[in-house]
């Protein structure tokens, strides 16, 4: 005879196979998920293509500029377009909420603009409809619907007493049931991921993306296992089926819907952020505190002039071997960039404080942990977006610096505005060659959540293992 746990699992699977709930829910959910995954994959490919074309157009237009004064070219500026992760179609993360085009110009740090679509996401209050949301939010509900009575039902019908009298312990029963529902989750995930892999093969993928996808699969499997254990445990603890169902639904509602939203609201109350206008004002004020390059009497720039004059051993800016205006422009750019980066870091510091608070709440919500991990692995989390924005600001600074250098070296101070440099220079400025963060860069983000998730899993397994042989 087979091991009793396997036997119980087999029996449970046969029962479920005959039950209507599974017959209706599983195909329905698979079709919905496949449909969503297909649309999102299609939209992702369209978007990546569109962004690539815009980038090419931008680069072509940049190089096609006529002879221009370098500072004019610096104001003409350039644009960088964010290419989303090829795993966005499973977990879209922050993608639908952020702008994907950055206009880079002299003196100013613009914010990312143009979302992928203009439609509002506010009406999806229970979560953005994506494969990840279906797995992380809806699948637990299906598990609840399938398994809430897996133990309480046996107890209610008196079959539990029979089983125990046959020498099967409650512990074995619980593990058997857990095994059965984990297998159902596994089948669900396998179907979804084979479809997803099909889409991936149709597009251009790197080895690292395959790895990320594998990790997502493992993560989701863990998450489903955790939920299966939760449902079986609740079903064991509750006296009646109805109690078990109500308790599980309430647990789902609190940990998946209410707690995450509440945590965000509390965090936002606790650590408020300046809005767009005030942030811009604060940045401008900080820049003005350091120095105003447009003010001839500005103390910082007076000092800076003395320093530069001493460096070259001359007494007048007219005698400098470089164009003084270009030098000033670069000093101004250095200040703007430094101050802005600092201000933006402060802003992100507030966001980080908020996230820290949410992370503490997340310790009690496996959903938040898994959701967070999922978007990290899919490279669609907030950090990977900020990584791109930082890279763009660095690129902007280097880009403008090169133009200021042209200004200083190729343009004479006298009659500055009337001069131009050859358009040959434009193609010499490097293009934005961006690579997203590597998975291992996010290690310090991954491990705490992963450990916590594992801890929950261990607690769940221990609780299963320590279940007593109560039959009534």
């Amino acid at each position: 005879m087979k091991h009793p746990i396997v036997e119980i699992a087999r029996h449970e699977l046969i029962t479920q196979w005959r039950s209507q709930t599974l017959k209706i829910l599983l195909p329905l959910l698979l079709v919905l998920t496949a449909l969503i995954a297909f649309s999102h994959w299609q939209q992702q490919e369209d978007f990546i293509e569109a962004q690539t074309i815009w980038q090419q157009q931008n680069d072509a237009e940049w190089e096609a500029q006529p002879d221009r004064h370098p500072h004019r070219a610096a104001h003409y500026g350039t644009m960088v377009f964010r290419i989303i992760s090829p795993l966005s179609f499973i977990d879209s993360g922050v993608n639908p909420f952020v702008g994907n085009a950055l206009f880079l110009e002299a003196h100013r740090q613009n914010s990312s603009s143009f979302k992928q679509y203009v439609s509002s996401t506010a009406y999806m209050g229970l979560g953005y409809l994506s494969g990840a949301t279906i797995i992380l939010v809806i699948w637990p509900l299906v598990l609840i619907a399938l398994a809430f009575n897996s133990v309480s039902g046996e107890r209610g019908h008196g079959t539990l007493r029979q089983l125990v009298s046959q020498g099967i312990s409650v512990r074995q029963l619980l593990f058997g049931k857990t095994l059965a529902y984990s297998l159902i989750s596994l089948i669900f995930l396998l179907v979804i991921f084979s479809i997803a892999i099909g889409f991936m093969l149709l597009s251009h993928v790197h080895g690292s993306d395959v790895l990320r996808m594998g990790l997502m699969f493992v993560l989701y499997l863990f998450y489903c296992l955790l939920w299966t254990i939760t449902v079986v445990l609740f079903s064991n603890w509750c006296r009646t089926n109805q109690q078990s169902l109500s308790a599980l639904l309430l647990f789902w509602l609190l940990t998946v819907i209410v707690m995450p939203k509440m945590a965000n609201s509390v965090a936002e109350m606790q650590y408020p952020m300046p809005d767009r206008a005030v942030f811009d004002i604060q940045t401008a004020q900080e820049i003005a505190k350091v120095g105003d390059s447009h003010n001839p009497d500005d103390p910082h720039f007076t000092e800076f002039r003395e320093k530069v004059l001493a460096e070259y051993g001359v007494s007048r800016v007219e005698d400098l071997p470089v164009n003084w205006r270009g030098v000033v422009m670069q000093e101004g750019e250095r200040i703007t960039s430094e101050v802005f980066t600092q201000q933006y870091e402060n802003l992100m510091q507030i966001a980080e404080q908020q996230n820290e608070l949410v992370r503490q709440v997340a310790l009690f919500s496996p959903y938040l942990l898994a959701n967070n991990l999922s978007s990290i692995v899919a490279a669609t989390n907030a950090d990977s977006f900020l990584h791109y924005e930082n890279a763009a600001e660095q690129y902007r600074f280097n880009f403008i610096t090169q133009l200021n250098q042209l200004h200083a070296e190729e343009i004479d101070l006298e009659n500055d505005r009337e001069q131009k440099v050859s358009h040959d220079h434009w193609s010499k400025l490097g293009q934005f060659d961006y690579h997203g963060p590597m998975l291992q860069d996010a290690n310090d983000r991954i491990y705490p959540s992963l450990l916590m998730l594992l801890l929950w899993l261990i607690i769940g397994l221990v609780l299963l293992a320590r279940s007593r042989n109560e039959v009534d």
């Binding site: 639904l249 819907i257 206008a277 907030a382």
Partner: protein, 454 residues
């Protein structure tokens, strides 16, 4: 009357009921307090930007009168704050307000490039969203309704009271209806009290909008009670009832809104409006390399109100030409901007159409309209910024084009932006929609009752 008293006492003795109600009221109060706090914070941010604006203007005023050339710099450097003034209801109904910058600053340069600023905010929090009163009403209240009434019959049956009761009254269905009406009435009273509390705790007034919100909210509540009633009328087990209810809730609150969004986005090309930035930028910078006098002549022909200006441009630089080209850079992308606007409004309309199928979506569209926190409001804000920019241009161009110096007194007359909320109302549509869905389920209940008898 005795019956009502008895039923109320029965409810009060029910521990689950007490805890659920307590949880509901607590969550609601927290949501109201948080909402009001963040509304006040929005006002504080506006105070900061206004103070800064006045300080900046005062610095220019100290140098007044400004000759037209110096006044040109005023136009170039001075940002003017624009704010989508939140309605008092936005404290309770946050809607789409986080999705675009509602408080920003514009200056006299080409406008479209300035409008693509996104809101600051914690990106990591965006996919999860926050908890406001409208979320509790729209998404969570149906579950409370289910908890209050879904298993009335099943519980009575389980407790063995049902056969006793049913044998005493002629029409047991009537009895059940009465029991549900009491639960519904109780929740209605609680919700009305919450709305009254909101009048005290926030800036909302007890006015016609209050009454409309209350009416739509009660209709929504009724709608869910009828859905529950239909499920009860199927006379299945309590388990079946719960699962069917949750499935319906998921379809109305998750699947339909998600599919609506998918459909909305399928109507669009991704990032299709980027060309606005390209075209504007290309025009603006090319103009430096073109014949400036020729461009300026064309501009004067197109805008005859400035024709009496000195027609010849100053060398090497003339602010009039500069601002004329900035203006033209907006004009040449006007069609793209109109398309962008059309896309947004169209998308909103599609969602609004799909909402006919889902009471959840309907209430949300309705609520966001009450609070003026929807796409229409956001788009109107952009439109009004456009009008305001026109006012600024008219005001400053008068000095630039007619060679007037900008005096101290002229600072007081700089146009000020004031957001005018959208007056459109969805109240009637929402009520009709909710009543129709309600009637649909009434029909199902009647059908089922007949079947049960037969």
């Amino acid at each position: 009357m005795r019956f009502i008293q008895f039923e109320l006492r029965l409810l009060w003795q029910n521990r689950l009921f007490k805890w659920l109600m307590l949880g509901y009221v607590l969550a609601v109060l927290l949501a109201i307090i948080w909402g009001q706090m963040s509304l006040q914070r929005e006002y504080q941010q506006r105070t900061i930007s206004e103070a800064n604006y006045q300080t900046e203007l005062a610095e220019y005023r100290d140098d007044a009168p400004l000759d037209p050339y110096a006044a040109g710099y005023l136009g170039y450097y001075q940002f003017h704050p624009v704010w989508q003034t939140p309605s008092a209801w936005s404290a309770l109904i946050h809607g789409e307000r986080s999705e675009a910058a509602t408080h920003t600053r514009v200056r006299l340069l080409g406008l479209q490039g300035q409008l693509s600023n996104t809101a600051t905010g914690n990106i990591a929090a965006m996919p999860i969203g926050k908890l406001d009163l409208s979320f509790i009403w729209i998404y969570l209240m149906p579950l409370l309704i289910a908890a209050l009434s879904l298993n009335l019959l099943a519980e009575e049956k389980a407790s063995g009271r049902w056969s006793l009761l049913a044998s005493q009254v002629a029409n047991s269905g009537m009895l059940l209806t009465k029991k549900m009406l009491i639960a519904a009435g109780l929740l209605a009273v609680v919700n009305l009290l919450i709305l009254l509390a909101a009048v005290v705790m926030t800036d909302i007034d007890f006015d016609s909008i209050w009454l409309q919100v209350a009416a739509v909210l009660l209709a929504y509540q009724l709608c869910w009670f009828l859905i529950t009633g239909w499920i009860i009328s199927l006379q299945r087990t309590a388990i079946f009832n719960s699962l069917l209810f949750i499935s319906l809730w998921i379809v109305f609150a998750f699947v339909l809104p998600g599919l609506a969004y998918l459909y909305q986005t399928q109507q669009q090309q991704p990032a299709e409006h980027v060309s606005m930035i390209f075209d504007q930028r290309e025009f603006m910078h090319d103009s430096w390399d073109r014949d400036q006098q020729a461009d300026f002549d064309v501009y004067l022909q197109d805008y005859p109100q400035w024709q009496t200006t000195e027609p010849t441009l100053q060398k090497p630089f003339d602010w009039r030409w500069y601002y004329a080209m900035q203006h033209m850079s907006d004009v040449i992308v006007a069609e793209a901007v109109a398309q962008f606007r059309e896309s947004r409004v169209h998308s909103h309309q599609i969602g609004n159409q799909v909402a006919w199928l889902s009471p959840v979506m309907r209430l949300q569209y309705s609520m966001n309209r009450f609070a003026d926190t929807d796409m229409l409001a956001s788009q109107t804000f952009l439109d009004q910024i456009g009008d305001y920019h026109q006012q600024l241009r008219d005001y400053f161009f008068d000095f630039y084009f007619f060679d007037k110096s900008f005096t101290e007194a002229d600072f007081a007359n700089i146009p000020v932006f004031e957001y005018q909320p959208v007056m459109q109302s969805y109240t009637l549509k929402s009520l009709i929609n909710l009543v129709l869905i309600g009637l649909f389920f009434v029909g199902l209940i009647m059908l089922q009752t007949r079947r049960n008898r037969g």
